[in-house]
């Protein structure tokens, strides 16, 4: 026994001596390599922001920034006197995001509460992967689902609903986001320690009281994070709104009318034959910049809210 110990110690010693140089090199190289990989994503972000910024500045050389913000009309394709007021695109985007969240938040949160607090392990094992499959469906499939299934269905319920409208893609984006909210919120709620549930149950709480008054508040910051990711996703969603939302920029909050979102406009221009260097060409960068600012604000609000309401344990 004693002999073995000595020899193992010696073996380690020998190995160390042999590899000391190599080891030292690897130890130094690895952090540099990891730093470079981290740098790639940062540089890409900076590159994107700068491209957006430069082209946006060019756009505002041609169109007054005040008109862009205050004008209520968006008619970029008029030969004479095109109108570049971003308001209709913003209203279209927000309307659809709002409808999507009205669908996704209640259903997603209810599903999360069910999965985390009520479902047995067996049910959870089956349901969660199915939810995640829903999240993996390509958005173009959702787009046609909205156009060829949901819209006709809605037209039966709401007479006079136009073929392209905000309601149908809004609902379908909501459906698309449900698994994201359900899954992330469920993770946040499952992470709440069991001991807290037991403490509440031991005070005579019902299961619902435990879920809503203890687990939900304790998981709130994670839940809000899932909402914000959902909203960002809804604002940035392109394919569904391009297919089912129409392409008529409309300053309206009426969900039965056709609208155009910022993303759908960018697609429209990219697909068309706007010549390089034209005002229309530059307009998509200005719209992209607006979109970027919106998601940025959304993330900042989310960070603020989740810090404000965080219940630390």
């Amino acid at each position: 026994m004693q002999k073995d110990k000595v020899s193992i110690a010696k073996l380690i010693e020998d190995n160390k001596k042999k590899n000391r140089y190599k080891q030292g090199l690897i130890e130094k190289a690895v952090p540099i390599f990891l730093f470079i990989t981290a740098l790639i994503s940062i540089l890409t972000t900076i590159g994107i922001v700068f491209t957006l910024l430069f082209e946006t500045v060019t756009f505002f050389d041609r169109v007054k920034i005040l008109d862009f913000i205050t004008s209520k009309e968006w008619f970029p394709f008029f030969e004479q006197d095109p109108k570049f007021g971003i308001a209709p695109l913003i209203s279209g985007t927000l309307l659809i995001a709002l409808i999507a969240m009205l669908v996704a938040i209640p259903i997603g949160l209810a599903a999360a509460i069910y999965l985390s607090e009520y479902a047995s392990d067996n049910v959870r094992r089956v349901v969660k992967p199915i939810l995640e499959v829903l999240a993996g469906i390509p958005t173009i499939v959702y787009g046609f689902f909205a156009l060829t299934f949901v819209t006709p269905l809605l037209q039966k319920i709401i007479p006079g609903l136009s073929f392209f409208n905000a309601l149908s893609p809004g609902i379908v984006i909501g459906i698309m986001i449900i698994p994201m909210i359900a899954s992330l919120s469920e993770d946040a709620m499952s992470a709440v320690p069991r001991a807290m549930r037991e403490g509440a149950l031991a005070l005579g709480s019902t299961k619902l009281e435990v879920s809503l008054k203890v687990v939900l508040p304790a998981a709130l910051s994670g839940i809000i994070a899932s909402f914000v990711l959902g909203i960002s996703r809804a604002i940035g969603e392109t394919m569904i709104v391009t297919i089912a939302g129409g392409s008529s920029p409309n300053l309206t909050f009426n969900p039965t009318e056709a609208v155009q979102t910022m993303t759908a406009y960018i697609v429209q221009v990219s697909l068309g034959d706007a010549s390089f260097g034209s005002t229309i060409y530059y307009s998509i960068y200005a719209v992209g910049m607006t979109l970027f600012v919106f998601t940025l604000i959304m993330n900042l609000i989310a960070q603020f809210i989740s810090k404000r309401f965080r219940e630390e344990y």
């Binding site: 320690p193 001991a195 807290m196 403490g199 509440a200 149950l201 031991a202 005070l203 009281e209």
Partner: protein, 270 residues
């Protein structure tokens, strides 16, 4: 249902004047986790306004028994129970007995302090709130009396709205006791309440138990035999799911009748 101190009118024994009425009476109680029998044929009476200690080596079923008294043991999905446990004369295992109602009367303090991630005030006010007390003045009063009752008021009165997780472990445990007191239970179950605490905090909790016994019946599971000897009136010794011996604490520690009890308290095993 809410804030009545419930001294039950019935079940007052007039035959033996000295004996306090029982809050719990277990009769032939058996419990299984899946196929494993964790408790075997337990007959166990717990008297009012006493501190009853349950001692025994790990895995002997003492915590399981404690958790059976407020049916928290049912959180384990595979659990099966047979026999009877009466609380104030009613069988709590019967499906007619509402589990929320039972837990309102029978509070519990856990091994590790488990305050909610809310303010100190909200922690104490949680219980009364879910049982329908909303009036701000009443809640303020309840919070103050409960915190005083748990001997922590002076330490936290200036920081009631700070997060409970800023408190030390010992303070957190006393806050959990205050949370329990806030709904004025009849019995308080304590599952090794000091095992995660330092000696000074332990002493404070032990002193607190002595005070609480004036108004509450306390059942405490402990690994610490000196603790059982210091604070309890009666002590039960569990071994391998059986109640080996149950008697006045001084009898158990000075003159145990069963050899296994003697071996355990003298430190020959466990």
């Amino acid at each position: 249902m809410i804030s009545t101190t419930n001294k039950n009118k019935q079940a007052e024994p007039n035959n033996k004047k000295l004996q306090k009425p029982n809050v719990f009476e277990a009769k032939g109680f058996n419990l299984w986790y899946g196929e494993d029998q964790a408790l075997k044929n337990i007959d166990f009476d717990i008297a009012e306004n006493n501190v009853t200690a349950i001692i025994g080596p790990s895995g002997c079923g003492k915590s399981t028994f404690l958790k059976s008294l407020n049916r928290m043991v049912e959180l384990v999905p595979t659990v099966k129970m047979a026999g009877e446990i009466q609380y104030r004369g009613k069988n709590i295992l019967s499906s007619k007995f509402g589990v929320e109602e039972l837990r309102t009367k029978v509070g519990m303090v856990f091994q590790k302090p488990n305050p909610f991630p809310k303010s100190i005030y909200e922690n104490v006010a949680y219980g009364p709130r879910i049982h329908g007390i909303r009036d701000k003045v009443t809640l303020d009063q309840i919070v103050e009396t409960s915190l005083k009752g748990a001997a922590i008021w002076d330490e936290v009165k200036d920081r009631l709205h700070e997060n409970a997780y800023g408190l030390s472990g010992g303070q957190q445990q006393r806050l959990c006791i205050a949370r329990c007191l806030a709904i004025e239970p009849d019995v308080i179950l304590m599952d090794e309440p000091t095992s995660a605490l330092d000696p000074i905090s332990t002493l404070k909790v032990e002193e607190l138990v002595q005070q609480l016994k004036q108004n509450f019946s306390i059942v405490i599971v402990t690994h610490n035999m000196q603790q059982a000897a210091r604070i309890s009136d009666k002590t039960a010794f569990f071994l391998s799911g059986e109640l080996v011996e149950y008697n006045d604490t001084d009898v158990i520690f000075s003159n145990p009748r069963d050899n296994r009890t003697e071996d355990y308290i003298t430190g020959r095993f466990g």
